[in-house]
């Protein structure tokens, strides 16, 4: 094998310019794919982070059927204290969960005593909510960063439309699950900017205030939002939660709870998927690039070295060794291009990181681009290039190995 490799490498060096050009083409492809993956990956995780850490959380638990009716914010599909105990126990048994927050969500009327409009309200325990969606305070563009009883955080959309500002008194009116209407005065403590996706008309009040407005005797939770220590464990935690909670059945034998990851709750997931599809297309382009360039070089090599093939074949070299010789040339070219591409790709990603490039998303400005590429991704891209290089060499190598020595020796 060493000798075959030696001959393969020397043959590559023999046509230095051609080798360099082909390796450069592979290298450019690898660099492009790595940098693209790093940048889009960074943008994607930043955007996902913005959405999950501002409002959505990583996972949500509801009573079965709630998400199907989520636009109505139903007060009849809620989690009772008994159900909450079960969920609380399950959550505490999963070490990957960092924090969770309980919410009472309802729709109501918002009045500044002159005009009235509708509002979606989240009754939360401020301490739990801040631990679960830590970017929430960054969305408060005016007023206090905390939420006390009797206070309301209102969306900017409403504040502007209703000409309400921090310190103003407003009234929230809502219908409870029994159909009776109740209202309560609140002091506007802060104004929230909206986040892409749900939340454009969402306001926040203390959970006890929500219970009072809705005249709840006991706390009936609409949703539980979970935050994980490591976003990468999302699928595992989801399966673990589902495994436990799906065993809880009602009297009719139907599941009591439903668990959803952020992906099922946010339309942004489609954008994230589009980024993944774009990455896939870029990878396919890389494969085509490597395939065509290596195949072209190897076909040329076989054509130019016909007499050499005839000679080594005549003196008794077995077809398998001739095949290996050419495949090793393609393989070496692929490895060379991939390694240089990996190195340059990593350098470019490093430069992008130290350049502190920022971008805007919705109303979020100055989001820092932090491209990152994992070792597994580098290995996967490199392995793809190497496998494709070998595949591209196979046809010319097979042709060389099948050549009749007498015909090859006659070649001029």
């Amino acid at each position: 094998m060493y000798n075959l490799l030696k001959i393969a490498l020397r043959n590559l060096l023999r046509y230095r310019r051609r080798t360099l050009l082909t390796a450069s083409l592979i290298m450019i492809g690898v660099v492009f794919v790595l940098v693209f993956m790093a940048v889009t990956g960074s943008v994607k995780s930043l955007l996902i982070g913005q959405i999950t850490d501002s409002m959505l959380g990583h996972l949500q638990v509801h009573k079965k059927g709630y998400v199907a009716s989520i636009d109505n914010l139903p007060l009849t599909i809620t989690l009772t204290p008994k159900a909450m105990q079960k969920i609380d126990k399950t959550i505490k048994e999963i070490p990957e969960i960092e924090a969770y927050s309980t919410r009472i969500k309802f729709g109501g009327l918002f009045s500044n005593f002159v005009e009235t409009t509708n509002i979606r309200l989240n009754g939360v325990v401020p301490e739990m909510e801040l631990k679960t969606v830590p970017l929430l305070p960054t969305r408060i563009i005016k007023g206090e960063k905390t939420l006390k009883k009797g206070d309301i955080l209102i969306p900017e959309l409403l504040a502007k439309g209703m000409k309400v500002t921090v310190g103003d008194t407003v009234v929230v009116i809502a219908t409870n699950k029994d159909g009776s209407v109740n209202g309560r005065q609140f002091k506007v403590s802060g104004i929230l900017e909206s986040v892409t996706g749900p939340g454009g008309r969402d306001g926040y009040i203390h959970i006890e205030d929500a219970m009072e407005v809705l005249r709840m005797d006991q706390m009936e939770i609409s949703e539980i939002v979970l935050r994980l220590k490591d976003f990468g464990t999302l699928q595992n935690v989801y399966e673990s939660l589902m495994g436990t909670l799906s065993q809880e059945k009602n009297e009719a034998g139907k599941p009591i709870f439903e668990v959803h990851t952020w992906e099922k709750l946010s339309p942004f997931y489609n954008i994230a998927q589009m980024i993944d599809i774009m990455t896939l297309f870029i990878k396919i382009m890389l494969i085509a690039m490597v395939l065509v360039s290596i195949m072209n070089v190897m076909i040329m090599a076989v054509y130019e070295r016909m007499r050499e093939i005839g000679t080594i074949s005549a003196i008794g070299t077995m077809p398998g060794k001739i095949l290996s010789m050419f495949v090793l040339e393609g393989l070496s070219l692929g490895i060379f291009g991939a390694l240089i591409g990996d190195a340059i790709g990593c350098i470019i990603i490093y430069i992008l990181n130290i350049s502190h490039i920022t971008f805007n998303f919705g109303r979020q400005t100055g989001l820092l681009l932090a491209p990152h590429i994992g070792v597994a991704d580098i290995l996967m891209v490199s392995a793809t290039v190497i496998v494709v290089s070998v595949a591209a060499s196979l046809q010319p190598a097979f042709k060389a190995s099948r050549m009749e020595p007498i015909e090859a020796l006659r070649h001029v």
Binding site: R10, L13, G310, I315, G316, E404, I406
Partner: protein
Amino acid sequence: MGLITAHNIYKDYQVGEVSLRALNDLNFEIEPASFLSFVGPSGSGKTTLLNLIGCLDTPTDGTLTVSGTDVVSLDRKQRAAFRGRHMGFIFQDFNLIPVLTVYENIEYPLIMVQNVPPEERGRRVLSLLESVEMTEQKDKYPDQISGGQKQRVAVARALVTEPELVLADEPTANLDSKTAYMIIELMKEMQRKSGTTFIFSTHDQKIVGAAEIIYTLEDGMIVDRKDTGGNAHV
């Protein structure tokens, strides 16, 4: 039994719709350790015959036995293996591998064909380098040596596997007269040392005399056989 036995050998080539007969009913027997030449004008069938003996091609009809093996019945892979075990080749254009040094070119068949252990390889290659007087050039590449030196390397490469038979098709055609004589002398000397059968083709009457046996070919037929004892002046 001879090293090579040919009975009623025919070789036809199809050129378009026309069939051309290159060899016509050849019968001969070659003894081991011969130094033999096929001579004749261009198109007489010398190269075709050497290709058949060298298992690079198969006859249209007839039986051909080399070293006790019916080579006509061998498939492609078996023919390659047979060539590697029993034969060495010297080509008109030297056909050295350009990316290998002189040493590596001679060593090539021992690694790629016969899988000889490194120590034995070194011994054989150095010995042959000395015999063909190329020791000083052993680290040079083919494009750094002269045509005569290239053919010396080719002779060494053909002999390194210790074959029973070395086939040389017009080995002096691309060399000047002086170098051509030197190469033929070298081949003769190597034949004496190793006892290997050397068969070469040529149309150069000046070097033919070096052969112990001379077969003359015309229009694909053997028209003459001379046993000169190899004493003719070269």
